[in-house]
């Protein structure tokens, strides 16, 4: 097992990032590679007569070190959900009703001890780290249930013959009791805290404070990076502050690794990714995707105060997006056509003006080419475009 662990560590450092960069361009290869990696570890563990559960865990651990993790997690989640249903139902099927209830008194007592004990221990530990009482309370009340892994361990123990089926029944009953009770405790955690505030205030002291995690707020979310959205980035950085780019192209993540922009690799369709980008709290949402469903979800989920700019492939789509609430819908080809039309008008009316405009254009392109992108010239390129018109 140690050898597998070491292999997993070394692979995560040197092999996996390279492998996933090869695969990240193709959605199917990317997904199959992730699954294959898991099966490699599971298979090796089985062949060596080790626990396949631990093998799978080590596979996941090494995958978690790769920058494409969040996209992979989202892609694999449906498969996990599917097999989770199968697994937990199979545990349910193995236990007869009388086995489930054989140790019911013990299960009730153990559940009570676990919920109260877990809460007390967690509260003590978080409080000890000098967090505010509210944080300590909310952090601990969210953790008063049995882990699903206790059922995994239980099932393993039964299959190895260490314990009998009634013990698994006892564990399952505990899981059912604590998980369902904690659902309501978590749902009403703030209300419970408010009602019982006097008790927790006793733990308060002036030097207690919460460490703020970085959370995007009033920021800009850019969906997809291309020639349309790239020139806008410096302006967004200047005016809005934090800029989060969500892109499916692995090269984007590499290109911006050391820049002032945050990049999330993955598909905007995944709700977890949208949460990570803080779409609901963004002040500006800019999408260069022409996929209607992506833009629809951006428009729908964005804050009411946010300005939402999306792209459309056709005029019909653009009108639909306006109808749905987009503030501005761009159709790059139409804009280009209009621009060329204006240039041509200029050419037919007075040629000198036309050539002057083109010279400006060429200068701008050369500047962009020399600096490698539109990004380094601090948004000047964008401003120039604006003053032109």
């Amino acid at each position: 097992m140690g050898a597998i662990g070491v292999f997993s560590y070394i692979a995560a450092r040197y092999l996996l990032p390279w492998l996933f960069r090869q695969a990240a361009g193709d959605r199917e290869t990317f997904f199959i590679l992730g699954i294959a990696w898991a099966f490699l570890f599971i298979f090796a563990s089985e062949e060596l007569n080790l626990s396949i559960e631990v093998g799978a865990f080590l596979a996941g651990l090494s995958l978690a070190q790769v920058q494409y993790t969040s996209e992979l997690t989202e892609r694999v989640r449906p498969i996990t959900d599917l097999f989770m249903v199968v697994f937990f139902s199979s545990i349910g099927l193995r236990i007869a009703a009388d086995e489930l209830l054989l140790y019911w008194q013990e299960a009730v007592i153990a559940s009570a001890v676990l919920m109260i004990g877990n809460f007390a221990i967690m509260f003590f530990l978080i409080n000890y780290e000098d967090f505010t009482p509210e944080t300590s309370f909310l952090g601990s009340i969210n953790m008063v249930q049995v882990s699903e892994f206790s059922l995994v361990v239980g099932a393993l123990a039964v299959s190895q013959g260490f314990v009998g089926e009634p013990i698994l029944g006892y564990l399952s009953l505990m899981a059912i009791l604590t998980m369902s009770l904690s659902t309501y405790l978590i749902k009403y955690n703030h209300q419970i805290y408010d009602r019982t505030k006097p008790i927790w205030d006793r733990f308060d002291s002036p030097d207690k404070k919460d460490v703020e995690l970085k959370m995007y707020d009033n920021h800009a979310v850019v969906i997809g990076l291309d020639e349309v959205t790239k020139p806008v980035l410096p302006a967004l950085k200047d005016r809005v502050g934090d800029v989060v780019i969500v892109d499916r192209n692995p090269q984007t993540a590499d290109e911006f690794a050391d820049s002032e922009y945050d990049v999330i690799y993955g598909d905007f369709k995944h709700s977890e990714l949208r949460k990570e980008a803080g779409l609901k709290r963004a002040a500006v949402v800019l999408s260069s995707s022409v996929q209607s469903e992506i833009n629809q979800i951006a428009i729908r989920e964005a804050n009411d105060d946010a300005i939402v700019i999306v792209e459309a492939g056709t005029v019909d789509q653009a009108l639909d997006r306006y109808e749905e609430g987009a503030h501005y819908v761009t159709i790059p080809t139409v804009l280009t056509g209009l621009k060329i039309r204006a240039y041509l008008e200029e050419y037919f009316t007075g040629r000198e003006g036309f050539f002057e405009t083109v010279r400006e254009d060429v200068k701008r392109l050369q500047a962009a080419n020399e600096s490698g992108s539109y990004l380094t010239d601090g948004g000047k390129a964008t401003e120039e475009v604006n003053t032109d018109e």
Binding site: A23, R27, T29, F43, D81, L82, K269, H270, R341, L344
Partner: protein, 427 residues
């Protein structure tokens, strides 16, 4: 469970290695999976793989069913139902005759013919992805012909597999009994699915709130219920899976999460199904190779020719017809589903099964090649003059109406950009 680990490990590790190796070339995944299956066949015990393959069928057909929108059927199908039907009957009929002449039984010849006439939407759509996205005519035609053919395939599966689960009726009673009863049940299941789609599904979605997980599980639960129902009344599970897909509409707010969930599930089971399929083929003998060549020829040569002729008769130009036909020249995944159901039911021999699998692996790869060089192949044909008769009237028409041109503007392409520019030039 533990006996599944080794085969699944082989399936996914093999697929990942091959996919990574060819990721630069842009081959579609399906033929690669079959090649992986051919290579690792020895490591996979046969009884187990058949069960895996059936699960694969269920999920693949289910995902296809979810993507079918009956409301849009008429607008999509109008372009191409005629083409799809003509291709089916002409290519199918000819291949049936060839199979019969080569000594196949009528039922086997029917399977043989189906394999030749239906095209794979999994492969075709992947190849023509950009054409479809850019809404080019041949991209749209490819998509809609595939769609109509897939619907045909479901119908054929319903009919051909009807005798599968009631072999007694097919052998002892009249054949009609064996077919009519499951057919009726099949139609009934589809009816139930449509009723759920119209009246119940929205309610189920509203029950699940905003939870992506619950919506996905609701869909899976529908799938399992329909599979059980079809098993219970003795219809092919492919029909049950299709019905379950039909019961799910994509017309609700959270459908994006369902779509991406189904995409993952589809990729997962696509790999399992096609690798398993490849693993069922032993080293082919001379007869198998000969039949596979006959099948391959009818797919790679006869089918494109028929498609081109039919499309040109429909009024499309020669280039559109050619490009469309080059994304249709492969075996359909539904033919493979049909073949495996036929094998399980003893309707076709192991030999014919291997013929169909071999031909499909080869044609799926050749199809990638013809698609990549489609423009060159078209121009090579055009130079020989076969299309002159078709193209000539258009050119003459163009020249006749125009006066000798001078000081004019040439606009290449009349899209959004070209039309805007043309407006200025005209004024």
């Amino acid at each position: 469970m533990s006996e599944l680990i080794a085969p699944l490990a082989f399936v996914f590790i093999g697929s990942a290695i091959l996919l990574l190796l060819v990721s630069r070339i842009g081959l579609p995944a399906v033929p690669l999976y079959i090649v992986v299956g051919l290579a690792i066949g020895e490591f996979i015990p046969p009884g187990l793989t058949l069960e895996l393959a059936q699960l694969g069928i269920a999920f693949l057909v289910f995902v296809f069913g979810v993507n079918v929108e009956p409301e849009r059927f008429f607008s999509v199908a109008r372009d191409s139902e005629y083409v799809a039907a003509a291709q089916l009957f002409i290519v199918g009929g000819a291949t049936f005759a060839v199979g019969f002449l080569l000594g196949l039984e009528p039922v086997s010849a029917a399977f043989f013919a189906t394999a030749a006439s239906l095209s794979s939407s999994l492969v075709g759509r992947k190849l023509a992805k950009t054409d479809i996205r850019e809404n080019l005519i041949h991209g749209r035609l490819t998509e809609s012909i595939h769609f109509v053919q897939d619907l045909f395939a479901i119908g054929i599966i319903l009919v051909l597999s009807s005798a599968v689960f009631i072999p007694e009726a097919a052998t002892t009673g009249t054949v009609l009994d064996g077919v009519a009863l499951p057919l009726g049940y099949g139609v009934m299941i589809l009816g139930v699915a449509l009723a759920i789609r119209v009246y119940l599904f929205d309610f189920l979605v509203s029950l699940s709130g905003d939870s992506d997980e619950l919506i996905m599980l609701t869909s899976i639960a529908l799938l399992i219920s329909f599979l059980a129902l079809s098993e219970f009344v003795g219809v092919s599970i492919a029909v049950g899976a299709f019905a379950a897909g039909l019961a799910i509409t994509r017309d609700f707010d959270a459908n994006l999460s369902l779509q991406s969930a189904l995409e993952s599930i589809e990729t997962f089971f696509t790999a399992i199904f096609f690798v398993t399929l490849g693993s069922l083929v032993a080293i082919p003998n001379v007869d198998v190779v000969a039949l596979a060549i006959a099948l391959g020829v009818s797919i790679v040569i006869l089918k494109p020719v028929v498609t081109i002729v039919v499309l040109i008769r429909e009024g499309y130009d020669a280039r559109t017809a050619c490009l469309t036909s080059f994304s249709l020249d492969q075996v359909s995944e539904f033919s493979l589903i049909l073949a495996i159901s036929g094998l399980l039911a003893g309707q076709i021999t192991q030999q014919l099964f291997e013929v169909i699998i071999l031909a499909s692996a080869v044609t799926m790869i050749t199809s990638t090649i013809t698609y990549q060089y489609d423009d060159r192949i078209y121009r090579a044909f055009a130079r020989t003059g076969v299309f002159d008769r078709v193209n000539a009237p258009n050119i003459e028409h163009g020249i006749e109406t125009a006066k000798p041109l001078e000081d004019h503007v040439i606009v290449i392409g009349y899209g959004k950009l070209g039309s805007g520019v043309t407006a200025v030039c005209l004024s």
